[in-house]
């Protein structure tokens, strides 16, 4: 992403691991304004993602005030405690620019569930289908057991990014 583009509305993603990175790739595949996506940072586990956010990204959010940040993690069946811990790290001034999405268990659980739906267990494909379900305005694929806890967050996130990620939809 060019330096100039960092001063216009854009999305940056922090993925907990390579599985989350592939989900993020899928989300990005259906974005029409590719230029509005910054790189994906990959950390080694959810805790390091949170630390990376605290140590690096808060300062960058101050510098690039058109940046939206999305973290993608596995909740390892600790949804409430992960969300609580993360919310504690987000300064009030950035609550409308920082979002957290997670699978309830691990990425493998997500793969197993969607294999029964699509016949394929590609994480990239799952990411694409989830993004499409947002574009359709139905968010129906987010109703499954692995993802339903994200419902308020995905609505909040999508409202904040749809105008610049998919300006023509």
């Amino acid at each position: 992403m060019t330096k100039a583009n960092k001063y216009t509305k854009h999305l940056k993603i922090i993925a907990e691991d390579d599985s989350c990175r592939q989900l993020a790739n899928g989300l990005m595949n259906v974005v029409s304004n590719n230029r509005a996506i910054d790189s994906i940072e990959i950390s080694d586990g959810w805790l390091k993602s949170f630390d990376f956010f605290s140590d690096k990204e808060i300062e960058r959010l101050k510098k690039f005030n058109n940046r939206i940040l999305l973290l993608i993690i596995d909740s390892d069946n600790n949804v409430d405690s992960r969300f609580k811990k993360f919310k504690e790290k987000v300064p009030d001034e950035f609550k409308d620019r920082v979002y957290l999405l997670s699978s309830k268990g691990e990425s493998e659980d997500l793969r197993s569930y969607f294999k029964s739906v699509f016949g394929k267990n590609s994480l990239e494909l799952i990411g694409e289908k989830l993004a499409e379900s947002c574009h359709r305005g139905k968010f129906d694929l987010w109703n499954c057991d692995q993802l339903k806890h994200n419902k308020p967050e995905i609505h909040r996130f999508y409202d904040s990014v749809k105008t610049f990620l998919c300006p023509n939809s």
């Binding site: 992403m1 390579d18 599985s19 592939q22 899928g26 595949n29 790189s39």
Partner: protein, 361 residues
């Protein structure tokens, strides 16, 4: 769509079987010498057959036999899905007993399992227009496929002809558009492609310009145009807002030339018929922070338009733009061992870090 290639006894390939199936974009990775460029060279043989090359010794030399084992035939099998029908082409090559002249041992084309022609040495069995079986006699030093091809043979040859192989050498890329046959793999004559595209689709100009302006080095571009030199030759000139006179394309930097090629491939793939592209290291010469966008653009264009692209790369950012199911690792233990290929799905989770650290087993 490219479904499968099987190669035996050709250079570093022994029993090499690659089945990308329905992936619209494929990433091939592996250390230097693992066989990525050799796969490109194998595809070039088919491309040349598509371009009417029949003479076998212009396609295969004695150095192409794996480990100089000329007693074993080189065998290629190619499976391509064209309009929902599976074309299966086989070509087996050996040599004359007392010299090194390559000869056709077998050559077959099937569509959905039905033989279009089959060949053993000189003898070709096929059907005439009345669907009657006929036999033909053909010089063993020549390929039959492009020989006055009609019907299914022509359909398959047309697909081969439209293969685009790219291994750009920007230092050699010129702004001269002179009529030549075929597209040079180093993109030396890339302007022919640009010129043809603009002639057929003038609206492509605006799309190319829009893409160019997204790159920091090109954001002050004003226009680009061909200047007629004579009946057969024209030169590409580029106008920048920051300078008063146009620049000849040849004087742009390697990176700037690559942006033009990138824009051309993206636009051509978007507005022309779907095609198959093999691109060796498309991320070379690009700024690191442009790699993600370009690779995502490339993947998106081919996914939306039904084309297919294979790319090779050593770039971490490119690797991370792909999913495990469309990434393949080529490996070769040493120069006496053949190339193996594995889909990244078989490499376990978080394999990328190990790969980039050179620690992947």
């Amino acid at each position: 769509m490219f479904q499968r290639i099987y190669i035996n006894n050709y250079r570093c390939f022994q029993n090499f079987d690659f089945k990308p199936k329905d992936c619209s974009s494929v990433l091939l990775i592996g250390k230097n010498g693992s066989g990525k460029s050799t796969l490109r060279d194998a595809l070039m043989i088919f491309q040349k057959i598509g371009l009417d090359e029949m003479q076998l010794d212009r396609l295969i030399g004695q150095v192409d036999f794996y480990d100089s084992r000329m007693e074993i035939p080189i065998r290629f099998e190619l499976e391509i899905l064209i309009n929902s029908r599976l074309f299966h082409y086989e070509l087996a090559i050996d040599r004359e007993p007392n010299n090194f002249h390559p000869c056709v041992l077998e050559e077959n084309l099937e569509v959905n399992g039905e033989a279009i022609f089959s060949r053993q040495r000189r003898k070709i069995t096929t059907k005439d227009q009345g669907n009657q079986e006929i036999t033909l006699d053909m010089d063993v030093h020549k390929i039959f496929l492009p020989f006055f091809s009609t019907g299914e043979r022509q359909t398959f040859q047309w697909w081969l002809k439209r293969i685009v192989l790219l291994s750009p050498a920007p230092g050699l890329m010129t702004g001269q558009a002179t009529r030549t046959k075929g597209f040079d793999i180093n993109a030396v004559n890339w302007c022919i492609w640009l010129s043809h595209l603009l002639n057929r689709h003038p609206a492509a100009y605006g799309k190319i310009e829009k893409i160019l302006k997204q790159y920091p080095a090109m954001e002050d571009i004003d226009s680009f145009r061909f200047n007629e030199f004579d009946m057969d030759t024209k030169w590409l000139l580029v106008d920048f807002k920051s300078i008063n006179k146009p620049l000849i394309f040849d004087f742009l930097s390697d990176g700037e030339k690559m942006y033009f090629l990138v824009a051309l491939v993206l636009v051509s793939s978007e507005i022309e018929k779907p095609q198959f592209v093999f691109w060796d290291e498309p991320d070379a010469h690009l700024m690191p922070d442009e790699v993600d966008h370009f690779i995502r653009d490339l993947r998106g264009v081919f996914q939306r338009n039904g084309g297919q692209i294979f790319i090779t790369s050593h770039h971490a950012r490119t690797i991370r733009c792909f999913a495990d199911e469309n990434t393949w690792l080529l490996d070769r233990k040493n120069h006496s061992e053949p190339t193996t290929i594995r889909c990244a799905e078989e490499l376990g989770s978080d394999w990328i870090q190990d790969y980039l650290a050179g620690e992947l087993e």
